[in-house]
């Protein structure tokens, strides 16, 4: 065979580590939020509303990143917002993954009527306008954390199912599956022990990308005033609340936006980085 293609150390390594570092930081912040946050995120003081960040003239040093129109500390709210953001991201992404991947694997591997059934189901499901459907859905069960997660799962499981189905079909056609069957292995056994491990990398990549999408969807839903109903702070909620006084109190919108942006960017770069690692062609 011709000389092996030369494996080039990917420059993306730097970006991969930066995103991983940011996400780990987020996890720590989410876990130890009560100890890290300087103030109680819900504590209000109408008379210390819209204080600027500490470096701006007229700031109150104890409110490091300033306060919003109700006098609540922006930094603490971002810190507590991390909990919901990661919670929504992890839970909705994994539920989406479980449903989507399971259906995808079944359809892709067993083919036949299972495949037809699942594909038809995917088609019908994808025929719904996503944002409109989630608004309708949230109108049914009322805004709140659970409905955001459900909305994300409802919109995005088809993406998982489609990709995993294609991958399962491709793997199913591989010789190692035939040989496993020859060795007398049951079909379900093959699916679990042979196909799944090979499809797992793709699932991990999609899972990471999905977490980024979940964070964005929460922001979009808060923009349409459908996000969480209780007082608990969410980045999306802070952004949409900050929108009306962008000129007077820019920090109420800008800081949660930066946090949201960095988080979603980290998820997507991590996803891309993992994809490069697993992608057979570039390995």
């Amino acid at each position: 065979m011709a000389e092996g293609r030369f494996q080039v150390r990917r420059r993306a390594g730097v970006r991969l580590w930066l995103s991983a570092a940011w996400l780990i930081l987020l996890v720590i912040v989410a876990l130890f939020a009560p100890y890290i946050a300087p103030k109680d995120p819900l504590e209000q003081d109408l008379f210390s509303g819209r204080l600027p960040p500490f470096w701006v003239h007229g700031a109150d040093a104890s409110f490091v990143l300033g306060t919003d129109s109700l006098g609540r500390d922006v930094l603490s709210r971002i810190i507590f917002g991390t909990r919901i953001a990661l919670g929504v991201a992890v839970v909705s992404a994994s539920v989406t993954c479980i449903i989507g991947a399971a259906l995808g694997l079944l359809a892709g591997f067993y083919r036949g009527w299972v495949d037809v059934l699942v594909s038809r189901f995917i088609d019908i499901w994808m025929a719904f306008p996503p944002v409109l459907f989630s608004i309708l859905l949230i109108a049914v069960i009322g805004p709140g954390l659970f409905s955001i997660i459900l909305a994300i799962v409802v919109i995005d499981w088809t993406r998982f199912a489609r990709v995993i189905r294609a991958e399962a079909m491709a793997q199913g056609a591989m010789d190692y599956v035939a040989s496993a069957r020859v060795a007398g292995r049951g079909r379900f056994g093959i699916l679990l022990r042979e196909i799944l491990p090979n499809v797992l990398p793709i699932i991990v990549v999609l899972l990471t990308l999905e977490m980024g999408i979940a964070v964005i969807v929460e922001a979009i839903l808060s923009f349409v005033n459908l996000s969480i109903s209780t007082d608990d702070p969410t980045w999306g909620g802070m952004i949409s609340e900050g929108r009306t006084s962008i000129h007077q109190a820019w920090w109420v919108l800008v800081f949660p936006l930066i946090t949201l942006f960095l988080t979603v960017l980290s998820f997507s770069q991590l996803g891309e980085g993992l994809k490069d690692r697993f992608d057979p062609v570039l390995r």
Binding site: R120, L136, A139, V140
Partner: protein, 336 residues
């Protein structure tokens, strides 16, 4: 013969899909709390008022009954009348669809232009800082929700440097000689380029807000597929024949790299149409999305039903189109 048979099968599956969508939506929106009649309850209305109004809108019958009436009407092309807008749903929905379609197609065009350019540049200058920059830019484009892109564009191009319009679809004071609702297309057909420019000046910002995330997706995918194609021997062979790197990418690698990206663009396009809801709201662009949000907020059941069905038709239509173009472009299928 094979083509006819697959087409027939495709028709049947589409019909099943549409029927499935119609049934699901019909029942879901009737389970939604907040019935439209309650919305109309003025001060002092009594129980009988509620009953009479409910009867007028036929909401007093059982849900299956309502569905049969609705389905019967649909067969004769009557999708019912909108409660809030008091006009036939079909006319309303078809009246607004062209605006959303034009905006989506313009956004898709821009996304392909931007995404394509990014992918080609990224491939041409791969393993350099430029490619790293483009990757970061695409990451950024995907990490900010599209409504925030809308806001940024409004602030920058609408207020700071007022170059483009920031609301509506066309300047109201213009006399529009259009017969159809496809203003942009008709303005070009009628060679009325003054109107075309006015329309584009209104549509550019919302289209760009939609195009940015889509361009990033297309860019990433096309670059990925291009890179895979660049490793193949016929590309190397072309280089030995004296073609420049750019020419090799353009004439050899691109035609083969486009195919896998095409199917995804089809899917993204349908998400795009569904996703215009927020951007139309922000730019007060009178498309399907704007009407959809009001319909949901006001629980205008017939209108919601009509909009979702129409969207389903577009989705299945675009899928069919994508599959046909895929077959047309891919010689193996055409001659196989």
């Amino acid at each position: 013969m094979a083509l006819l048979q697959t087409l027939l099968l495709r028709m049947i599956t589409t019909a099943v899909t549409l029927l499935g969508v119609a049934v699901i939506v019909f029942f879901v929106i009737r389970v939604v709390p907040g019935n439209p009649i309650a919305m109309m309850l003025p001060p002092g209305a009594t129980a009988e008022d509620i009953a009479t109004l409910t009867a007028i809108y036929g909401l007093d019958k059982s849900i299956p009954q309502q569905f049969l009436i609705w389905a019967g009407g649909v067969l004769q092309g009557d999708f019912g009348t909108s409660i809030t807008l008091k006009q036939p749903v079909l006319a309303l929905v078809l009246g607004r669809l062209p605006a959303t379609l034009e905006l989506s197609v313009l956004a898709l065009g821009m996304a392909i232009l931007i995404g394509g350019a990014a992918a080609l540049t990224g491939t041409r200058l791969r393993e350099t800082r430029v490619e790293g920059g483009i990757d970061i830019a695409q990451g950024v484009a995907l990490s900010v929700p599209d409504f925030l892109w809308g806001l940024v564009l409004i602030l920058v191009f609408g207020v700071l440097v007022p170059v483009f319009q920031i609301s509506g679809r066309v300047t109201p004071s213009l006399q529009l000689p259009f017969v159809t609702d496809f203003y942009l297309v008709e303005s070009v057909v009628r060679l009325r380029f003054d109107l075309t420019l006015d329309l584009l000046s209104h549509m550019l910002l919302p289209a760009l807000a939609l195009a940015i995330p889509l361009a990033a997706i297309i860019g990433q995918l096309l670059k990925q597929s291009l890179k895979e194609t660049m490793h193949l021997d016929y590309v190397t062979l072309a280089r030995t024949q004296g073609y420049s790197e750019a020419k090799v990418i353009w004439s050899q690698a691109l035609p083969n790299a486009i195919l896998p990206t095409l199917t995804l663009v089809g899917v993204q396009f349908t998400f795009l149409i569904g996703g215009t809801v927020i951007i139309e709201r922000l730019f007060s662009y009178e498309g399907l999305g704007n009407m959809a949000i009001d319909a949901v907020i006001n629980r205008d059941l017939p209108l919601i039903q009509g909009i979702v069905i129409l969207f389903a038709v577009i989705f299945t239509g675009v899928n069919l189109l994508v599959d046909l173009t895929y077959a047309a472009l891919n010689p193996r299928l055409r001659h196989g």
